[in-house]
């Protein structure tokens, strides 16, 4: 078991190293941040002074070694734009992202799971079709468009909800819906297919033959088993919601990590982009590592195959 965990840990570290290298190099292909900190027409000496200040006058290899050396000490560097440590910025935005992601996740599960169950037990009928339309729209409508329509309707036309910002529960409603709809659709589809698979299994047939009421068969026997893959997906989705709600957070001026990433990209703020991507990637790697280890604990065959 120790060997299994060590190997998984090594894979995780390798993944993080490759991620750090990739994001470090790719972000530098996108342009020179110095030109975004001056008006066009600024002197070369001004541009060079900015590059020097940001450490961009050094060879890329030296920059990467310096970046990794700081990273292993928990230092993600200092934002070019904010002149504040990236980790500090990340932590200041994290509570807002957690709040939004939690609300969006609650919405997506509350809508996605019941509608998925309903669609599965009423296959080919109205609720199934309605669920399919809901899922299709959720997966295909761009979230920025959904966000803008919500603002126009609920803020400007009806005047019920604030158009943007944060601070009250009312501020949370529209961004949570805009972010959660896509995931609600994904959860609904997975719940439906998972329920259909479980409902067709032998033990459900046996339960019905035993004369159990249909509601009990669905609620007690089918639903519990069908829920496992949905919850696994929800865990991964939560990490995604926290880190990459870029569009929704920008449209609603929600001060979360997604918007921090947007700002980082806009201003070619390399340390911010690197930091946010690595933190998000790190979360996914850790979640996967824990899942791998748990699988290994539960199923010895996985340990042996590894």
């Amino acid at each position: 078991m120790t060997r299994f965990i060590t190997r998984r840990l090594a894979y995780s570290l390798l993944s993080l190293f490759l991620l750090s290298l990739t994001i470090f190099l790719f972000v530098r292909l996108t342009g020179d941040p110095a030109v975004l900190f001056v008006e066009p027409g600024a002197s070369q000496s001004d541009l060079e002074a900015i590059r020097q200040q940001f450490g961009l006058d050094q060879p890329v290899g030296v920059q990467y070694v310096s970046f990794i050396a700081s990273l292993v000490q928990g230092d993600f560097g200092q934002s070019f734009y904010y002149r504040t440590p990236v980790f500090e910025l990340y932590l200041s935005r994290l509570p807002n992202s957690l709040l939004l992601a939690t609300a969006a996740m609650a919405f997506s599960l509350l809508i996605g799971i019941p509608s998925g169950i309903l669609a599965a037990v009423r296959v080919g009928r109205f609720w199934d079709s309605a669920g399919k339309v809901f899922a299709l729209l959720g997966l295909s409508l761009p979230s920025f468009w959904v966000g803008l329509v919500l603002i126009l309707f609920f803020s400007v036309y009806l005047g019920w909800l604030p158009s943007s910002g944060s601070g009250t529960a009312a501020h949370l409603v529209m961004p949570a819906f805009a972010l959660g709809w896509y995931f609600a659709a994904a959860h609904m589809r997975l719940t439906r297919s998972s329920m259909l698979e479980v409902l067709g299994s032998e033990y459900i047939k046996l339960a019905r033959l035993k004369g159990l009421p249909e509601s009990l068969v669905i609620a007690k026997h089918a639903f519990k088993n069908a829920l496992i893959p949905v919850l696994t997906l929800a865990g991964i989705n939560l990490v995604i919601m926290i880190n990459v709600a870029v569009v929704v957070e920008t449209v609603f001026a929600w001060p979360g990590i997604g918007r921090l990433l947007y700002e980082g990209i806009t201003f070619r703020d390399f340390p911010v982009v690197q930091g946010v991507v690595l933190m998000g990637g790190g979360m996914i790697v850790v979640v996967n590592l824990v899942i791998d280890i748990l699988y290994g604990v539960i199923d010895p065959r996985i340990r042996l195959e590894a």
Partner: protein, 542 residues
């Protein structure tokens, strides 16, 4: 050279203005001096008292902005002012400068009541205004001015520091800058194009450190810092001891709303009072919406078409007639109406009209017939393939419209929009060919703009002309303002006559104000994009 203090006196209570605002007396017969009359007069007196105190140093209410760009803490510290206009949005509120642009005055004396330069242009002396205080109560002194200059590390700090030999403070109200050699643009850089002339309290900065200062900035401006929530909002409160005059509005809130549709929605709902940067169709909608006012401000950003290959004898652009044909093919007015509702200023210069030493060229004309004729005379009766047209993606709409105009006379080019960072990198590295849609909003004067875009070795000059280079060298060494101006005018005339550039416009930055706003401050300072001066702002009922 001398600057005089013509600062406005604090606006006090004016009975006449109050009387204009009081509720109308109900009409009726003759009124006796009864109890009701006495009570009415008493109520009126109380109202007058309350109003008067509000005007004379008791600011009221709140104005909220929907800001298009994320506010950065570096903007709270003048020492870190980058070479872009946006930080001045905060500087004008929190801090004050020795001199700064104000309504009707390109360089109004502020913390300095006057200044002078020695005959040999090696010494500049500033006299500070007496009794001006920072928000913490300390008086602004010459030591603070020296300290602010020395710690300045923002845009153009190197040429500024390199050319100053010493800063002397003979007494608390006098500051003397000694230059290593005569530099006619010293004032342009020190109090115009950089944040070095914006003054911070030395003792406080030394006590809290640079990071501490950014977290709790203290200045001598009309508004005090209250709070800053990164990515969300900045809150400021009126400083009633501001030397110029006490602000009228008590609280200013700057909310960051990056999406412009959301900003407009927030303005419509009354969540914010002023929004920055609303473009195209949204600006038209703003203009149509009852209660909202479109507030365009023509800023110092000029746009042009640059013929990068004009020094290549094999290129069609080498022929001046072809360049003039391109210029004549551009329908400026139609493009302006379509993209900025007609508010941009059609200009024939790469230099903004508010810059020192600006020469006013003839307005560009639209004459496609003449353009075709010139092309035919140059040997291109059927037009020609002009290669690529490079532009910043953010202004691809302007490029598309211009390109359409060029195609109408037979100049065919392929649009190559590039993301801003990549575009300006390619432009500065001289990596482009054919046509470049350039722009600049850089601070300075005509000489600094020409240095970057026209003169030999300029950061964005793909070539130069010997006669212009000679004139440029002459003006750089000229200390007499009039003679220097004449030389710079001559250069601009040659640039115009030779059609080194085809000019597009001086951009209008479109903002909006809601019904609660009295004076928005938008457009008060020429070429400035944002609300200022903040002490002049009022609510609708004030």
């Amino acid at each position: 050279m001398t600057g005089n203090c013509h600062a406005k006196q604090p606006v006090g209570f004016r009975l006449s203005s109050l009387l204009r605002r009081r509720p109308p007396t109900p009409s009726g017969g003759p009124i006796g001096i009864g109890r009701g009359r006495v009570l009415a007069l008493l109520a009126l007196a109380l109202t007058i008292g309350a109003y008067g105190s509000a005007r004379a140093g008791n600011p009221q209410g709140q104005l909220t902005w929907g800001v298009h760009i994320t506010l950065a803490p570096t903007w709270f510290d003048p020492a870190e002012t980058p070479g872009i206009i946006t930080p001045y949005m905060v500087l004008y509120a929190l801090h004050d400068a020795l001199a700064k642009p104000m309504p009707g005055q390109p360089l109004a004396p502020s913390l300095a009541e006057s200044w002078s330069a020695s005959e040999d242009a090696l010494t500049y002396e500033f006299v500070l205004r007496k009794g001006v205080k920072f928000h913490i109560g300390d008086e602004v002194t010459a030591e603070d001015v020296k300290f602010s200059f020395e710690r300045y590390r923002g845009a153009s700090h190197k040429p500024l520091h390199d050319r100053v030999a010493a800063v002397e403070t003979p007494d608390p109200r006098h500051v003397r800058f000694k230059l290593k050699e005569p530099w006619p643009d010293f004032l342009t850089f020190y109090v115009g194009a950089t944040g070095a002339g914006w003054i911070v309290p030395k003792k406080y900065v030394e006590k809290v450190g640079d990071d501490g200062f950014k977290k709790a900035p203290v200045g001598a401006g009309p508004y005090k810092f209250v709070s800053f929530t990164p990515g969300q909002e900045l809150v400021l409160e009126a400083f009633d001891q501001y030397w110029h005059k006490p602000p009228n509005v008590k609280r200013l809130v700057f909310k960051v709303i990056p999406d412009e549709t959301t900003r407009l929605a927030a303005l419509k709902r009354g969540e914010v009072d002023i929004v920055y940067s609303i473009r195209g169709e949204l600006a038209e909608e703003l203009q149509r919406t009852k209660g909202l006012t479109l507030k365009p401000a023509v800023i110092q950003a000029t746009f042009w078409l640059y013929f990068a290959d004009q020094w290549d004898p094999k290129s069609p652009w080498h022929d001046e007639r072809v360049r003039r044909a391109a210029s004549l093919a551009i329908d400026h007015d139609t493009i302006n109406r379509a993209l900025t509702l007609g508010y941009s200023r059609i200009t024939g210069s790469i230099i903004p009209d508010t810059f020192d030493y600006y020469w006013k060229p003839p307005a560009p004309t639209y004459d496609p017939g003449k353009a075709r004729q010139l092309l035919a005379e140059a040997g291109y009766p059927n037009g020609f393939d002009a290669g690529e047209y490079f532009c910043d993606t953010a202004y691809a709409n302007l490029a598309e419209a211009t390109l359409n105009n060029l195609e109408e006379v037979g100049i065919r080019a392929k649009l190559r929009p590039l993301e801003r960072a990549a575009f300006f990198k390619g432009y500065a590295e001289k990596g482009f060919k054919n046509l470049i849609q350039g722009a600049s909003g850089a601070f300075g004067n005509a000489a600094t703009r020409l240095e970057a875009f026209v003169a030999k070795g300029g950061a964005y000059a793909y070539g130069s002309y010997p006669d212009i280079d000679t004139l440029f060298a002459q003006q750089a060494a000229e200390l007499d303002h009039a003679r220097r101006e004449a030389t710079l005018h001559k250069i601009q005339q040659v640039v115009h006559d030779r059609t080194i550039y085809a000019h597009l416009w001086q951009l209008a930055f479109l903002n909006g104000a809601g019904p609660r706003v009295g004076e928005s401050g938008l457009g008060l300072i020429p070429s400035y994009a944002y609300s200022a001066p903040y002490e002049d702002l009022t609510l609708a009922h004030q």
